[in-house]
């Protein structure tokens, strides 16, 4: 299945801003976080198709996954 992964803020450093890749069925968000060597505790926000998501959620073909470190402003 095709998954688009978007990284933001410091997560981009040494990685990428956006890629679309193939993953086997059953891949969870946590698997991708692990593959990218992002320590799970550094993950502030996970957005799956524009909604907040949790690491143990399974992905589906065509999903768009966005990962942010803890950031803020206002």
């Amino acid at each position: 299945m095709r998954i688009t992964i978007k990284l933001f803020a410091t997560f981009r450093i040494g990685r990428f801003a956006e890629v679309t890749r193939d993953y086997p069925a059953g891949t969870r968000i946590a698997d991708i976080i692990g593959e990218l060597h992002i320590p799970e505790k550094e993950v502030g926000m996970i957005m799956l198709n524009n909604r907040h998501a949790e690491p143990d959620q399974e992905l589906h073909d065509g999903d768009s996954l966005a990962l942010f470190p803890l950031v803020g402003g206002g």
């Binding site: 950031v71 803020g72 402003g73 206002g74």
Partner: protein, 576 residues
């Protein structure tokens, strides 16, 4: 020497230092400005008339070595909203006033003749003199001239041409340590200053007695714990200094809550070009400063210095709300044009958030097309000149909407809705609706818990828990705004319990009091209730605590969310 109230009467052009009345003793910042306005300003008065008063108050911790403690509150009845108003800003003025033991500065009355004045405050005397040279000039020139006239360290509060012309979106500028500009942005307080015919207030704290800390040892320990919590939290310790507040462009875009094309959509195609990530790269490439503090003692440093392609200074304090507003909201994906607009807005003295909403509505009205960056600069020039169109624009988004017969006008109580779509971030919608000051995200920043997952998580798309969240945040914010601490201390405060303890310890060490957490909450509640009572007496009702109806009728793509709160549900807010 004890603390004093400085009262300046612009009808008689006189001034007096007064004792601080007992009931104002424990107050500072917003608690003090709102208490004074509520006590001394008739709620039904004309905001630009002689009965309104403009009050400045440093926060309770101003002038101490505490990190983040240099914010100044300004209050009055707002010409933009007709409600009570408090707006706070960084810069050097709060610390200078505190060092001279001036707990509040009240400007009242108004001259009968159309002349402008400059006020100069020294430790024991005040001079009010007619100003001719600087009338009509922008804030950058005012600050430069006053530094030349008075000295390198002079503190400045000033209005630009927009304030002189008493337009409802006018702000008050405060010089920062580098001679650049921070602003009391929201609510048109610059028009109140203009109505009092005060072009500037120059503050020279030479020889000031300094702030008295009752228990310096205890203060030091608490201040250290406070600074530690700030630097430990990922948002205040790393996120804000690295990307500034503009990191939010991409966050809100992902969450479908980045208001685009005058609140038509929740995502903007050009988001990456105006994002915090791109901005940081651009700043570093051009030799600007990616982090910078708006006052001495700021260790978070969310501000920055943005330069043009030639490496020349353009603007600082270049914030998410401005970039969202002139950017996504106006469909402009060019950071350089947005930065230029930011500089012009600072210079002419107009609130950048209101201006952003004004420009969106002006595009809705087809005065200029969406995406027209040079057009925005042209309209800002009309405002500076005070042309008839410029005056309609300078009186706020609601005025433009009325003049052009529009319904898609994103305002609450006449004040422009900032950078978070209430349909996709429902908690902030409750804050817009219920805030005592019109739509203002800083009054109860539910975005933290709805989107950023700071202080827990409440689903932004559901109604459950939003009213309570906004209420708790508005109470806490009213208290923090009274300490004079920059609101960004709320990020560590929401997650690290020692932060609040340290703030209370600092207050107790400073004043020799024995406050506990509940006292601080009680102070926050009292401030909100005082402000609410003023508004009710000014003629507001719960029917004013509502969002514009297009948020109920028009779904916001990509989530296609709508605003579904009933009036009854919103009114629950005031049950405390």
């Amino acid at each position: 020497m004890t603390e004093r109230i400085l009262r300046i009467n612009m009808t008689t052009l006189s001034s007096a230092f007064e004792e601080v009345p007992a009931e104002w003793q424990g107050l500072g910042g917003r608690a003090l400005t709102s208490t004074i306005v509520a006590k001394e300003v008739p709620p039904t008065c004309h905001p630009l008339g002689k009965h309104n008063k403009l009050v400045f108050a440093p926060g309770l911790l101003a002038g101490t070595p505490a990190a983040q403690s240099g914010r100044l509150s300004a209050g009055a009845k707002s010409p933009l909203t007709g409600t009570i108003k408090e707006s706070n800003a960084g810069g050097t003025a709060a610390q200078s006033l505190a060092r001279m033991r001036i707990k509040a500065l009240i400007i009242e009355g108004a001259p009968t003749e159309d002349r402008f004045y400059g006020i100069r405050i020294n430790k024991d005397d005040v001079t009010i003199s007619e100003e001719t040279e600087l009338v009509g000039t922008g804030n950058y020139e005012v600050i430069k001239t006053l530094i030349k006239r008075i000295g390198q360290k002079v503190g400045v509060l000033a209005i630009g041409p927009v304030g002189e012309m008493r337009m409802s979106a006018a702000n008050i500028s405060v010089r920062d340590p580098d001679g650049n500009i921070r602003s009391h942005g929201r609510g048109g307080l610059g028009a109140v200053m203009g109505a009092k015919r005060v072009k500037y207030i120059a503050i020279d704290d030479t020889g000031g007695a300094g702030v008295e800390v009752k228990d310096p040892e205890k203060f030091k320990t608490a201040a250290r714990a406070f600074a530690k919590a700030i630097l430990e939290h990922p948002v205040s310790g790393e996120g804000l200094p690295t990307y500034g507040t503009n990191v939010l462009v991409n966050v809100l875009n992902e969450a479908g809550g980045l208001p685009t094309k005058n609140f038509r959509y929740g995502q903007f195609e050009g988001h990456d070009k105006i994002s915090g990530e791109t901005m940081r790269e651009t700043i570093i490439q051009r030799g600007g400063k990616p982090k910078h503090g708006c006052h001495a003692g700021c260790i978070i440093q969310c501000s920055q210095v943005y330069c043009d392609k030639e490496g020349e200074y353009v603007t600082s304090g270049f914030e998410y709300e401005t970039i969202w507003g002139i950017g996504a909201n106006c469909c402009i994906d060019d950071l350089d044009i947005i930065a230029q607009a930011d500089r012009v807005m600072d210079d002419i003295g107009i609130d950048s958030i209101e201006s952003a909403v004004i420009m969106g509505v002006a595009m809705e009205a087809d005065i200029i097309p969406f995406g027209d960056g040079p057009g925005v600069l042209k309209l800002l020039e009309e405002i500076r000149q005070g042309t008839p169109l410029g005056r309609i624009l300078g009186n706020g988004a609601a005025a433009v909407g009325r003049a052009y017969g529009l319904t898609r006008v994103p305002v609450v109580k006449g004040q422009g809705i900032p950078a978070y779509d209430p349909r996709s971030v429902k908690g902030i919608g409750i804050t817009y609706a219920t805030s005592t000051q019109g739509a203002d995200h800083t009054m109860g920043y539910a975005v933290a818990t709805n989107i950023l997952k700071v202080g827990g998580f409440i689903d932004p798309l559901k109604k459950e828990g939003q009213v309570e969240l906004s209420r708790n945040l508005q109470i806490a914010t009213a208290a923090i705004d009274s300490t004079g601490l920059c609101l960004f201390v709320a990020f560590p405060a929401l997650d690290i319990p020692e932060t609040m303890t340290a703030i209370i310890d600092m207050l107790n060490a400073r004043y020799g009091t024995a406050l506990v957490g509940d006292d601080v909450i009680a102070l926050g509640k009292r401030v909100l209730k005082t402000e609410h009572a003023f508004n009710l007496a000014a003629g507001f009702t719960s029917a004013d605590d509502r969002l514009p109806e297009f948020f109920e009728d028009d779904p916001c793509p990509p989530l296609n969310s709508t605003w579904t709160f009933t009036g009854e549900e919103i009114d629950e807010f005031w049950n405390f």
